[in-house]
Amino acid sequence: MDKMMDLWLASGIYNLQAGQLVMLVVGLGLLYLAIVKKFEPLLLVPIGFGGILANIPEAGLAFSAVENALHFAQPEVLDALSAALGISSSDPEVILKAYNTSNASTHAAVSLAAMDGGYSNGMLYNFYNVSIASGAAPLIIFMGVGAMTDFGPLLANPKTLFLGAAAQFGIFATVLGAVGLSTLGIMDFSIQDAAAIGIIGGADGPTAIYVASILSPHLLGAIAVAAYSYMALVPLIQPPIMRALTTEAERKITMVQLRQISKTEKILFPIMLLLLVALLLPDAAPLLGMFCFGNLLRECSVVDRLSDTAQNALINIVTIFLGLSVGSKLSADKFLDLTTLGILVLGIIAFCIGTAMGVLMAKLLNKIEGGNSINPLIGSAGVSAVPMAARVSNKLGLEANPQNFLLMHAMGPNVAGVIGSAVAAGVMIKFVG
């Protein structure tokens, strides 16, 4: 009967902690939103499922070999870890603290000691290291997004880039909000944390994950979940703000049809953007470099098989592992925290401010030009959230005037928002990275 007891003592139900139960429910909730409500399912299905896996008691799928060794706390293994760390205590918490503050070579030694003790990295921990900690997955997804992006509407009306710029104000205002909360003692965010939280306002998943993985990996789970959830909520969040800031007359403005763009312009644009990044902001080079590379594969029309793969097999494969890896950051000990609540609140504020600033910038452009060439409804598309935000602009345009098709016009600021938030990401990595 010992064995029966062993099984029971090692079972999930016996070891289930309250936090894990909560996170299992959160994971199920994300699956519900993704599958039933169709909230960004391509990411939220893997994230939600990864979150459930990460919170299976005793399985340790989201933990490193060292964390797993500390969890099971066999005396001889703890001694080996202490020895590798050069400390005398064999209290798991002391060891963990010493481990977290030790340098890279000690890290490697402690990790090998844990493996000698028979523990191994969890599956999700490995996925996270290979896909996100290496920086590779968000960049590869950005390449795929580039290969799916048509810069035609932007090229036909370049001044919509200003709308994409203005909408990034949400990012920086949120940074200020986060440091404000810290200064008031309500939260405890470093400037790096604040910057990573702000990027939620960029409404761009891979950018948010990339920045968070560099500046603030411990907040990555909450930031990614917030970013994708709010992107899915665009059709609910944006319309009230857009209506509040525009008059009926403004919403009825029809825009002139976009000119046709030549192949040459479409090929030259990503190269030009890359060179501008190279000359002005090298820290944005990985993100925008891969984005431009993907777009060039698409437009140059001599490597269609590479473009196809970047848009399909490759981005799908990476999305699966990126999502599961983000889910690994939803383990109860890392996610259930007042901080997460702060991130969710700040993130939605960032979104709202970004939306508002895009609309206001469109009105300002009309003022400056002294005309009515821009329907301010397309300003909100400057936050990115491609193509959802552009569809929202189109929908509100049609409500005001059933002949007013804004979709293609809104695609300009929409893709401009992707560039804008990647630039903002580069600035933040430069200053606080």
Binding site: L154, L155, P158, K159, L161, F162, G164, A165, Q168, F169, I171, F172, A173, V175, L176, A178, V179, G180, S182, T183, S190, I191, A194, A195, Q260, I261, S262, K263, T264, E265, L268, F269, M272, L273, L276, L280, L281, S301, D304, R305, D308, A416, I419, G420, V423, A424, V427, M428, F431, V432
Partner: protein, 79 residues
């Protein structure tokens, strides 16, 4: 060491400033580039994008199947 708030403030000012400078330059360069392209390459504008030839063998054999099936279908029905 600056206070957290002043760090946040300067990040906002310089961040937004830089984003605008960057995108303004991009507007300028894009406009210039488009003008040059339209000037030197007036003909190449606006052919409606034609169907891309598929690169993979997979699809080729698909097409073979397609033609076979269609021929069969048409043969059957035209008589």
């Amino acid at each position: 060491m600056e206070s957290l708030i002043s760090q946040g403030l300067s990040l906002m000012v310089f961040g937004m400033g830089f984003v605008f400078v960057f995108l303004t330059l991009l507007v300028g360069m894009t406009t210039l580039m488009s003008k040059l392209v339209v000037k030197f390459e007036p003909v190449a504008v606006a052919v409606p994008k034609k169907l891309k030839p598929r690169v993979t063998k997979t699809i080729d054999s698909n097409n073979d199947e397609l033609v076979a099936v269609i021929s069969a279908a048409v043969h059957k029905y035209r008589s």
